[in-house]
Amino acid sequence: MVSSVINPVIAIAINTFRETVRDRVLYAFFVFACSITVLGILLGSLSVGQDIRIIEDLGLTVIAIIGGIISVFAGTNLVYKELERRTIYVIFTKPVSSWQFITGKYLGLVMCIFVVVLAMGVFLLGLIWMVDPTHHMQLHIGSIIASLALVFLELLFVLALATFFSTFSTPIMSVIFTLSLWFIGHLGGSLLDLSKMSSNPAAQQLLTALYWCLPDLAQLTRVRSVLMYGKEPSQEIIIFMLAYVFAFIFFLLGLASLVNERREFP
């Protein structure tokens, strides 16, 4: 009974993972990301005693950007590609429900992004080990792993956004919607500040309502800045951040399943 629920999800996840990792574009992105990270050695040599810090910062930024690009483009093509190839006809004439399809697709991409972030993280650590004359990896490994985990968490959210939009929109529109909401998410706090500054109660209510409807990724930024200074963020902040991001992911995937459930495949 459990296997009839779980097996289709796993099968769709593995199929999605295979499809993404067998796409040559992914490797092009990977080589590009590694090349830019290597450029950090050159930039580092221009600084005075901060070369490792610069490689670290550049490497993590590249991982976040390339991971983001892969998440947005792979996520927004999720349902569209199945429709275009007409493979959706084969899936939805099998006992597969909408939520199993969406969850499987999402998990497949999560596996792929995990591998990408892990591979680029290992490359970055290797580069730092090579450049650091003392080869004291223990000084860097903790902060880099924490930063990578943060990047991965943010990408999980971006993937859920892209998955949601892919269920009812064309890939181009989905990319625009996903990037917009991702960007707005980082400015969420400003909406709240603006509502406090406004003297018009209607504007205040509108801005507050907008703030509650839109995602707020400010916590991620705050934790990132704490990590940047080599400090540890408090446990409450981490728990709140995880709960917030995962609640949003469940909400978006639930909504995506509902939208997909109502769809027809003519």
Partner: protein, 259 residues
């Protein structure tokens, strides 16, 4: 011969009805002016257990729409579609049917073997059972030697064969094939005909659309003719060939569609 303008009752009291469509209506809605034009207009038909039913009709008659409603890919605007007593598209019905879409194209990143495995996993088949079933089906469709090739290297005929194999992975009671012989060479058509005959001998209920009338005439028990979304005629092949006054199925078809 029994020609009907809009058949309302085809239920054979002695047989079990496996596929039932009652008063199906479906409109196409234009995206700009939201203008509605009918694709299916009060379509009713019944297929009994173990019967092979061929739905014939010119292009745009609504054959593919009918099959898509029966497998749950689209919902009718009104009317009921039942498969094995369940509403079309319900999980219990889907577990017992096999579907081959028209011009199937599958995943270019998978090998034929991986694709069949994927489809089997969607039915939550056990590993051992799935392996045996895959070997059996690859043999049936003559794809054993090419199963480990990536699907992007497959010809249209090979994709069609693999599509047939995937539609049978769950050993379905009811089979829906949409144009199973389109694009196949004479050898491919003969092979599909043989597979159909074997499935028929196993007592499967088969519903398929086709333009290739000689093939339909060879394997079907009964045919329905769909024109502009309406079922204009429905007869058994025996009646058409023996007492219908038609030379063959082609003459029957052309008479019914007014061609």
């Amino acid at each position: 011969m029994d020609t009907v303008q809009q058949p309302k009752e085809h239920i054979d009291v002695t047989g079990v009805n496996v596929i039932e469509a009652r008063g199906l209506k479906k409109d196409r809605v234009s995206s700009f002016l939201l203008k509605r034009s009918p694709i299916l207009d009060d379509l009713s038909l019944t297929v009994r257990e173990g019967e092979t039913y061929g739905l014939l009709g010119p292009n745009g008659a609504g054959k593919t729409t009918t099959v898509k409603i029966l497998v749950g890919l689209i919902k009718p605007d009104s009317g009921d579609a039942l498969v094995l007593g369940q509403k079309a598209g319900e999980p219990e019905a889907l577990k017992q049917i096999g579907f081959l879409p028209e011009n199937p194209y599958f995943y270019s990143h998978l090998t034929g073997y991986e694709f069949l495995e994927f489809i089997g996993q969607l039915f939550a088949l056990k590993k051992k059972e799935l392996k045996e079933r895959m070997a059996e089906l690859l043999e049936l469709v003559g794809m054993t030697a090419d199963a480990n090739q990536p699907m992007r290297k497959y010809s249209k005929g090979m994709l069609q064969r693999l599509g047939i194999a995937q539609s049978l992975i769950n050993n379905p009671k009811v089979i829906f094939w949409d144009e199973p012989m389109s694009g196949l060479d004479p050898i491919g058509r003969r092979d599909v005909r043989k597979i159909l005959e074997r499935l028929k001998s196993e007592g499967k209920t088969i519903f398929f659309n086709s333009h290739l009338l000689p093939d339909v005439s060879d394997v079907c028990d009964r045919v329905g003719v769909l024109v502009k979304g309406k079922l204009v005629a429905e007869d058994s092949i025996k009646d058409i060939e023996r007492g219908g006054g038609y030379k063959d199925l082609e003459e029957y078809f052309l008479t019914k569609v007014g061609g």
